[in-house]
């Protein structure tokens, strides 16, 4: 491979013609720049949402008022949820890393619709600005919870309409990205890259793209109806006018359940890339993983009712949803078995991307298994609306998706930045994060089982010890995040220069320079075999 000083001239960071300065970035149709734009924006929002989370934990360190009033607390957890879910986790891996990596992984020069890609980013930023604007105008930040349930979301004087409009714009961004990725994967694979020679991260982006296409319009509809209700009083959700409040819950969850698969599928795809490299062997069960991604995406449409078991649905409906919820766990479990089998008897290199990956497998498994507890009708009655649920979704979304995101950031860091980060700091960050995460969230399972409701500002004295431990955990977690970002951001500027393939990976992105040139590849590759081939002496 051609290395050395030449690559700096050719790297995509060098602007060649066209607008200069910041405009060469925010008006760029280069998928790599757009990916970085997304990453920069979403981690800024993540930072804000983390602060909100820390404030929530600070409030909850003791019963009664600690640092804020009850109405402020409602707004804080609502905004924490809205930012984390709509601005960080849902766009997260697909828009951040997927944008950067998809064309590289399939041997293409860009995505199918580069200008629509840029437009997706602009919808994202505009939506984010509208949401952030809603915090400071009108009646103040929404206090309904990120789920915006009616009737409160219709009656409250807070800025629900504006916030919901912002989310609507984000939905458009997500849908356009889905269309772009699905078309890209169909049309732009390098010669010789048949479907079953694609890297599994690409399979996961494909399945995710379909979910984005099929589910997000329902969110758009739901939010439109909510805005129409608030602005014009249509009455569709208002029982006094002939409507039905439960309708909102159905519509909302018909999107929001598939949304969690938008969150987890790319994360699973990313770790499936990392494991073969650091076990120095091919993935176990390639087709099982590919098909299970599609299975999760499909079956995920059928389970939304499990968020509504206590809402008054018929017994028959609840039994069907519960059964389907158990079914959808199976493809996820298949993946876990395949990952573990891939590590078994591999030649393990315990570097930071793999450490984050192993943490992911452990934390996501806890999250997934507790999901079964939530999904069983008998137990759901006790855990619905409690801290057990809060712990469950943080284990899956944070311990799952976010940890996989961190793993992927470390793994692809050299490719994106052309530099290496400091391994000791990375390992330390992983350890501190893992400890902090469990100290923060595990007590919540116990709190939930003992009856502590979620979204409550105050609590009985018997819950205090677990809340106290949890808050300490939040500080440990914060330190872990600080170490990690100090490492990564510092290394962008001062890290050691990276070669094109520092990890010995076998997928196409590692055949071009770090960072890649504007056109991705000097010559487009021709693919002759599967993606994970590690021979002796490679």
């Amino acid at each position: 491979m051609v290395m050395s000083e030449e690559k700096k001239e050719h790297s995509f960071y060098e602007t060649q013609g066209g607008p200069a300065g910041i405009f060469s970035w925010i008006l760029s149709t280069d998928h790599k720049r757009i990916g970085i734009l997304y990453l920069t924006a979403m981690f800024s929002f993540f930072f804000v949402a983390v602060i909100l989370g820390l404030l929530m934990r600070l409030e909850l360190i003791a019963p009664g008022r600690t640092i804020m009033s009850a109405t402020t607390y409602n707004a804080v957890f609502t905004v924490h949820g809205v930012i984390m879910i709509f601005l960080f986790i849902i766009p997260g891996i697909p828009s951040g890393l997927g944008n950067f990596l998809l064309p590289l992984l399939i041997g293409a020069r860009d995505v199918a619709f580069p200008r629509i890609n840029l437009m997706s980013w602009w919808f994202y930023i505009t939506g984010a600005m509208v949401i952030l604007g809603s915090l400071f105008t009108g009646g103040g930040p929404p206090d309904t919870g990120w789920t915006f349930y009616v009737p409160y979301s219709i009656k409250t004087g807070t800025n629900v309409t504006l916030a919901v409009f912002g989310v609507f714009l984000l939905g458009i961004s997500s849908t356009l990205t889905g269309i772009n990725f699905v078309t890209t994967i169909h049309r732009l694979r390098a010669p010789g890259m048949k479907w079953f020679r694609m890297p599994l991260f690409v399979w996961s982006l494909y399945a995710t793209g379909w979910v984005q296409i099929l589910a997000t319009p329902v969110l758009g509809l739901t939010l439109l109806l909510l805005m129409a209700e608030r602005l014009f009083g249509f009455g569709l959700f208002d029982a006094a006018k002939g409507g039905d409040p439960l309708l909102f819950e159905h519509l909302f969850w018909i999107y929001s359940h598939p949304a969690v698969y938008i969150m987890i599928l790319p994360a699973m795809g990313a770790v499936t890339e990392i494991i073969p490299v650091f076990a120095r062997r091919t993935i176990f069960g390639y087709k099982a993983i590919a098909f299970s991604s599609l299975a999760i995406a499909s079956a995920g449409y059928l389970v939304w009712g499990h968020h509504m078991f206590t809402s008054g649905m018929s017994d028959m409906a609840r039994m069907v949803f519960s059964f389907l919820t158990f079914i959808v766990a199976i493809p996820s479990a298949i993946k876990v078995f395949n990952w573990v089998a891939s590590l078994y008897k591999g030649s393990i290199e315990l570097v930071s991307p793999l450490l984050f990956t192993i943490s992911f497998i452990f934390l996501f498994s806890i999250g997934g298994l507790t999901g079964l507890i939530n999904g069983a009708l008998a137990t759901n009655v006790y855990v619905h609306g409690t801290y057990f649920i809060v712990a469950h979704f943080h284990y899956t979304m944070f311990g799952g998706t976010a940890f996989a995101f961190f793993a992927a950031l470390h793994y692809w860091f050299p490719k994106i930045t052309g530099r290496m980060y400091r391994e000791v700091l990375a390992k330390s960050a992983c350890l501190v994060l893992f400890i902090g995460f469990n100290v923060l969230y595990f007590p919540m399972f116990i709190l939930g089982l003992e009856g502590m409701p979620r979204r409550y500002y105050d609590y009985l004295p018997r819950f205090q010890t677990d809340h106290f431990i949890s808050t300490i955990g939040s500080w440990i977690l914060a330190i872990g995040l600080a170490i990690m970002f100090y490492n990564l951001i510092g290394s962008i500027f001062r890290g050691e220069k990276a070669t094109s393939n520092p990890w010995g990976g076998s997928t196409l992105e590692w055949t071009t320079s770090s960072p890649p040139p504007r056109e991705n590849f000097e010559e487009l590759p021709v693919v002759t075999g599967g993606p994970y081939r590690f021979g002796k002496g490679k």
Binding site: G107, A108, R109, D110, A112, F113, I116, T175, G178, I179, N180, V182, T183, H186, R187, L188, A190, P191, I213, L214, T216, P217, V218, G220, L221, L224, L225, A228, F232, G233, F234, G235, L236, K241, G242, G243, L247, L251, L524
Partner: protein, 204 residues
Amino acid sequence: MNEENIIEGKSDYQGSKMGMWLFLFTELLLFTGLFLLYSAFRSRYSGEFHAGAAELNKTLGTLNTVLLLTSSLTMALSIKAIKNGQKKLSVLLQGLTVSLGLLFMVDKYFEWSEKIRHGIYPDSAELLQRGKGETIFYGLYYLMTGLHGLHVIAGIILISIMIKMTINERVHREKFVKLENAGLYWHLVDVVWVYLFPVFYLIS
């Protein structure tokens, strides 16, 4: 289009069509959701929906249907024209499509203002007093025809842009996928109306 061309980023006809169809699918899902809501509420308030349908202006509704169906014809013909290299004819037909779309909106304006004059609009005292079934019927009526109307306006803007591009020859005999995609969008808008019309105006 061979693979090299596609991968090298030159125009990809199939890819463009695929992207457009996927987008149309999302629009279809949006409206299907609304139609499902309609069916759910209709089964609850069948009598009132029946009565509400009788009150809507069938003449204006039929006129709208004729306008939109004709505009879909002119749109399809405009694409045929550009494929034959008949630039002026294509521009004319696209212009006709836009005009028919505008007439649709004018007609809609008359329909809605008539209802509003009678005090029938979301959250009005008159409507609420008529009872739950009619409140929901008209709520869905305004919502669905309103959302459809927004899409008609979007289509009008889109085709106007196509007219400009055809005149500038950015759309021409060899490269017309943009016009085809605009045509697909317009046909979707038409199809949605084809379902809206009987469901609101005719089932009684």
